[in-house]
Every structure is written in C-alpha cells, then in structure tokens.
Amino acid sequence: MRVVIAEDLFLLRDGLTRLLRAHGVKVTAAVDNGPDLLAAVAADRPDIAIVDVRLPPTFTDEGLRAALKARRETPRLPVLVLSQYVEPLYARELLADSTGGIGYLLKDRVLRSAPFIDALRRVADGGTAMDPEVITRLLTHNSSNTALAALSPREREVLALMAEGRSNTAIAQHMVITERAVAKHTTSIFHKLDLQPSDDNNRRVLAVLAYLNH
C-alpha cells in the first residue's frame, strides 16, 4: 500500500512515517501543507492520503479543505483525515459525496497501531472509518429519536460499531458473538430505522451514517 502524508508537525509526521513503514506500508511523500499534498497526490497516485485537519498557513481547517479538493481532483481517492479533535460537522462534509473511502479519526487512535492500520487499510479499500467519538456524539444528538430509542442495548452497540465502519466479521470479533448474531442484529436495526438493507458493506455504513447525520 502506498501512502501520502500531510502533517505540519515534524515529530508527528516522522512518527507516523515510521509507524507505517513498520507495518509494511510505503510512504511515497510526507508533506507539511495543502498545496504540496495536492501536488504529491497528482504525482504519486497513492492508494490513500493521510491528512491532518490543521495545516499552515491559517492553521484552521486547511487540511480538510485540501483533502476535499484532492478528492475532487482525483475522484474516489481514499482519504484518512486525522485531527486533535473530531467534529460531526466535518464528518458530514467528508461524507457528503457518499462514495466511501473516507476516514476521520482522532490522532490518539494512532497510538494503538493495529486498529489504526486496520482502519487505514479499510479506507484504502474504499471503506469507511469514523472515530467512535463522532458516533457517540451523533448518538447523543439523536437520543430523542424514537426509532433509535426502540433499539435494544445490544443493537445500539452493533449500530455504533457499524457506523464506525466495521464489517460484520470485525463486529463479531469485537463483541465476541457469532457473525450470524451480528447479521440478525443488523437486519433488525435496518428494519427498525426503516433503512434499505444492503449487502454491500460500505453502502450499509454510509446509510447508517447518513441516518445519524441527517
């Protein structure tokens, strides 16, 4: 897997590069600003771009805008956005084109390398990786939703994991239940939320996220 990194802090850029190399991921370019990211994406055609939200010169949402622009210039380019904080609003903007290949994670998640690399691969394959904090906040926002209130605690857990972008297999492993049980839960969730069931894992995730992020 070939990766382009855009991160302005040298320590983090370096650490991330080393972490990825240790997991057999090739870092083709590590830049520290938006325009360089666009140039590197155009030149290297990476499998995925890892972008920090805050980049110079404004240190606001420069990275987010650069990532969205990169996706416009290179359609379906998988992008994993990292940030010191997550905002459901930014998640909504990233998911707006609903084509998948989007990740939005707290920088803390890098500290647990195995799940992080897992999420990276998932996004590179066109999947989704939403930070659990985004999902928690979206669920809080929707807590007065009667359809969601009708879910059982177990189903809510499955919903949260599904919204993060995990496959049935990953959910089953995480909850220590069988995959059949997960499938039963997801069917029930889709029925209760009145969503169109889909066999495609990613389309299913996007539907759930769109539902929560209305």
């Binding site: 010169p57 420069e62 622009k69 010191q84 609003l89 803390d108 500290l111 926002h141 007065s144």
Partner: protein
C-alpha cells in the same frame, strides 16, 4: 426600508378621512393627561411646601387669609394640636422607611407615593388653620419640619420618576433615568446617607419640582381668576358666559395634543440626564463590567491551571513512572513490562482526551476554524435537540465578541436541554445596524427566571463587557425566547487559500 416606505403611503389617506369625533377624543385624552400632569405638579408643590409652611408657621411668620378675624386658639385646642403633632411624628417613621425601601428598589413603583403623605398632611393642616397652628410648640414643629424634608425629597423623586415614565407614552418624549446607581448592600451607613444628596440628579429633581410647581400654580391661579371674571361678567345673562366658555373649551381641545409634547420636552430638559450624568453612568457601567471581566478572566485562569494540574500534568507524571517501571522490568519480566507499556499508552490517551476537553472550553476549535455560525451548528449537533439554524453573517465578528457570543449560545442551549423540556430550538443569527443579533427560541415549558440561579445573570454580565444585552421572554407554558445583541463590526469574509 420597505416597511418604512409603505407606512406613510397607507397612513396619509387615513389621516384625511379622520372624523371630527376623533379630533375631540384626542383633545379629551390630551386634556386628561394634562390633568394628571397637573396633579403631579400640585403634589410636587405639596412635597416642597409642606415642610416649608410648617417651619414658617412655627416661627409665626405665616399669616394666611384674614388672620385678624381668626379667633385666638381656645384653651382646649392646644391638646388637639398636640394630638396632631404626635400623629404626624408617628406617621413620619413608617413613611420614611417605606420611602427608603422604595428608593433602594425593595418595593414596587407605587410604594413611592407614601413619603408624599406627611408633607401633604402638614400643608393641609397649616392651610386649614390659616397658619396659626403651632399652639406654642415652636421647637417641636421646627423639628418635625426638618424631619419631613427627607420625605419631601423622596416624594419629589417619585413624582419626577412618574413624569419621566409618562412622558414617553403620553408626550412622545422618552426621558432616560439619570440617577447614580444605589450603593451596594454592604456599604457603610454614611455612604447610604450621602448617596441621595450627592447625586446631582436629586437636586435637579428638586429644581424641576420647584419650577414646575411655580408654573403650575401660576397657571391654575390665572385660570381660576379668568373663570371668576367670566362668571362675574355674566351674572346678568348666563348665556354670555357660555360663548367664551365654549371657545375656551375648543381652544383646550385643540391645544391639548400640541402642548403635551412641548411639556414633555420641557420636562426632558430638566429631568433627563445631562452630559455629566450620562458620563457618570457610563463610567459606572465601564467600571462594573471591567471588574466583572477581570474576575471572570482570573477565575478562568484558575480553572485552567487546576484542570491542567489535576488532569494532564498528573497523568504525564504517572506515565513517566509507569515507563520507568517498565524499563526496570523489561529484562526480567517482559510480559509485565508489556502490560505497563500498555498502561502508559492508555494514560497518554486519557491525557489527550482531557486536554481536548480543556481546549474546547477555552476556545473551541470549530470557532477558530470556521467562525460563529458553523461553531453553533457544531454545537447543535452535540445536543439531543432538533435545531433549526438560520444564519446570515457576511463576515466574522471580532474574535472576543465571537467567543462571547458562542459561549452565550452554548450556555443557553445547555439550559434548554437541561430545564426547558423542549425538543426543538430555532436559532437566528444575523448582523444588522452594526449589531450582532442572535435569537434562540424553544418550544419548551417556559417560566425561566433570571432571578433564580446565576446562569443568566452571569451571562448578562459577560455580555455587558461588550455593551451587549440579553433579553428574555419566558411566560409559563412557553415558548422561551432569548435575544442577544452585541454591537460590533464584521470583518470581511475570510478568503480561502485552497
């Protein structure tokens, strides 16, 4: 603008069709209002003249009416007078207390009429007895007159306040209140006693009352004289009086609506705040908001320091210790070292989470990134409420205003989700006439009261530092509507570099 343009267009034809009856009713209303002002004027005269008349009568300088024909007081009247003095003295105490309670804002507006009672009674007593009333108790009467002066001052203050209050709706001339704020609860008695005389507005009230009462009394006397003349002239034929009488009435009906605004302007020139008073009020406001701002800033610093000390700092120390222990164990017991390393990592994740929360409380990243509207939008996404956000800000307010507005909205929304039992909130953000305006309406149960709890008060204080205001309307049963207004200019919209 369009609203202004259409109003005269529809109003002009209406004015042409105005029936003559409305002309008369307007005149009658104006005359009635004029009579109320006359009443206030005469009451003011009583408040001033009461103590003065009593003092003069005590000194034997007052000989009213046909003093010669008054029979000298019979032996029994001295006792009657003593009862009168005793009654007045006893009455003075509760009336003064009621007046003080009113002036310090502890009772309603109508309680201010109470201090008027002793001076008015004294004046009536003196007038009825043609100035010979003391019954030999000169010093007692002088003392009573002296003690009555504070009552008179309080009464003039109340009457001036009523004139100010009525001048807006009745004369179309709103008059601002020029008084210096009352000293706080825990100030010394001397400051309390010095407060009223030290306020120039008190003296201007007295001057107004004197001028107004003199003018009013002269006017009433002139009218009475005129009426008397007319009656005398027409003793032969009553119809002769009717013609000038009718003419006078018509003149009154015509002049009433025109004289009221003039009276209002006259009142404003004496009762409104002069430049000095306005500056004094402004200085007081600035001093108060400055100290509140400094307090809030210091409190926030302390909170941040405590949060860092108890949170991230402590976790980093623990992390260092855990790593140290792991280093010791890595040779002998790699398994235990691995567990410690995992613990250190968890510790760092928790420290990061705490720092994130802290930053959110100091300056939310969303506000820094995107400005007020998106930050409020982000806030809305975090709450279990359906939120309709209508916002139009062509630029960004200055950073301190933006931050104050954001935290105000954040606090208000938190209140809504905690107390209002609402499920939907409408937020309107706009900028008109150099003022940032935010209105927040919910469909909850209403009944929010700023007097209960310090939340809204604190919010009001923080906005006051920007000359901002907070208006709350929350009838029981709802809906609750909060309006925030902060005067500020907008910077040009940020240009994107990507």
């Amino acid at each position: 603008m369009t609203g202004r343009a259409t109003i005269p267009a529809t109003a002009v034809p209406q004015r042409k069709r105005r029936p003559w009856t409305s002309w008369i009713s307007d005149g009658l209303v104006a005359c009635a209002r004029g009579l109320v002002f006359c009443g206030l004027t005469l009451a003011g005269a009583a408040a001033l003249l009461g103590p003065a008349a009593l003092a003069l009568a005590a000194l034997g300088l007052l000989h009213l009416g046909d003093a010669g024909s008054v029979t000298p007081p019979a032996p029994g009247t001295r006792g009657q007078h003593d009862v009168l003095w005793l009654g007045l003295a006893v009455l003075l105490v509760p009336c003064s207390v009621a007046g003080l309670r009113w002036v310090t804002g502890k009772t309603g507006t109508s309680a201010g009429v109470v201090p008027l009672v002793p001076p008015a009674l004294a004046l009536v007593a003196v007038l009825i007895n043609h100035g010979t009333i003391t019954g030999g108790r000169t010093y007692l009467c002088l003392a009573l007159a002296g003690l009555m002066i504070p009552c008179g001052v309080l009464a003039t203050r109340w009457l001036a306040g009523q004139t100010r209050r009525l001048a807006g709706p009745w004369c179309g001339v709103p008059i601002a209140v020029p008084y210096r704020p009352a000293p706080g609860e825990r100030t010394s008695l001397w400051r309390w006693i010095g407060w009223l005389p030290a306020d120039p507005a008190t003296w201007r009230d007295l001057m107004w009352t004197a001028v107004n009462a003199t003018g009013g009394c002269l006017l009433v006397a002139a009218l009475a004289e005129l009426g008397d003349k007319l009656l005398h002239a027409s003793t032969g034929w009553i119809g002769l009086a009717a013609v000038p009488g009718l003419a006078l009435t018509a003149l009154g009906l015509w002049a009433g609506p025109r004289l009221l605004p003039a009276y209002g302007r006259f009142a404003r020139s004496m009762l409104g705040p002069n430049m000095q008073a306005e500056l004094a009020l402004r200085v007081h406001h600035l001093a108060q908001t400055r100290s509140a701002t400094l307090d809030a800033g210091a409190a926030q610093m302390r909170r941040i320091e405590r949060d860092l000390h108890d949170g991230a700092q402590a976790r980093l120390v623990a992390m260092g210790m855990t790593l140290d222990a792991a280093e010791e164990l890595v040779e002998t017991s790699p398994q235990a070292a691995r567990a410690l390393l995992a613990e250190a990592r968890d510790s760092s994740i928790k420290a990061l989470a705490e720092l994130r929360d802290l930053v959110r409380g100091i300056h939310p990243p969303m506000l820094a990134d995107r400005g007020l509207v998106d930050a409020v939008h982000g806030l809305a996404l975090d709450l279990p409420l359906r939120i309709h956000l209508a916002a139009e800000l062509p630029g960004r307010p200055p950073a301190p205003v933006e931050s104050a507005a954001y935290f105000a909205v954040s606090e208000l929304l938190a209140n809504v989700s905690k107390h209002a039992h609402a499920d939907t909130v409408w937020i309107d953000i706009g900028h008109t006439a150099q003022t940032l305006r935010i209105s927040i309406t919910d469909n909850g149960s209403g009944g929010a009261d700023p007097a209960h709890g310090t939340g809204l008060r604190g919010l009001e204080q923080r906005l006051a530092a920007f000359d901002g205001i907070l208006a709350l309307s929350s009838p029981p049963g709802g809906p609750t509507m909060v309006n925030l207004e902060i005067p500020c200019a907008l910077s040009s919209p940020k240009t994107s570099s990507c």
